[in-house]
Amino acid sequence: MQSKMIAYDPLTGEIRGICLTQPQVMAWQTQGLDITDGADEVDLATHRVMEGQVVAKTVVELVPDKSEFIAGGEEQAVVTVAVAGEEPPASIEVLVADAVQVVDLAAGFGQTLPITAPLPTTIEVRVADQLVYLDNGGCVITAGEEEAGG
C-alpha cells in the first residue's frame, strides 16, 4: 500500500490537500497546515485527521420514507438517520433545508420530525457536520404539485 503526504488543518483535522512533491509540502506548511502520512485511498471528502492520525469519516445514511410527496396536503416525509460505527453518538445534527435539527439516536438510528411543505419545493437533507461525517450527498425530497385530474 502506497502512502502519501496529507496536509491538514491542525485545529479542525480537516484535510486540505494531498501533497505530491516536497515544495508542495513546504507551501502547505507555510500556510499553517500540518503534514502527516496517509494511505493511498485517503481523500479530502472521505477522511479527516484526528490526533495526528488519518481516519475515515463516520458514514451516515439519510433515507427518506418517500422521495416525493404532494405539497399542500396531508402528505409528509420522514428521514431515517443511520450512523455507522460501534460507538455512535446519542444525537446528531441534521440540516433540513439548511435548518438545524437535532435527531436523537438509539444504537445509531433515529428519525427526523415529519417534513411537510405547503407549496411545491425541493428539500435537501444533509448532516450538519461534514467534517466528521460522510453522508454521500444526503438525500433530496421533492414536494410536488398534485396532478390535474388525478
Binding site: A97, D98, V100, Q101, I115, T116, A117, P118, L119
Partner: protein, 90 residues
Amino acid sequence: MASKVSEVVTSKAKARQVVTVKDGKLEVTDQAAASLQKVKALPTWLTQGPDAAGAYVEQELNGLSKEAKAALKELAGAVAALRDRVASLG
C-alpha cells in the same frame, strides 16, 4: 383544524426556504413559490393589463355615489397636475 407555529427555526441565507416547526412537524416553505402564489391570488383585473384594470375601475365607478365620483375627479385632476409638474422637471 387550528394549527400553531411553535417555533421559527431558521431561514436560508438567500431566504429561499423557511423552515418552521408546526404541530410537531417541520414545514418547509419555498419563498419563491409563496410569492408566486400571492401573485396568482391577486384579482384578475390587476394582473391582466391596463384594459382589464380600466374596465374594473369603470365598473366600480358606476357604483359610487355622486360625492365620491366628485372627490375622485378632483383627485385625478391633482394627480394629472402632479404628473405634468414632474414631466416639466425634465
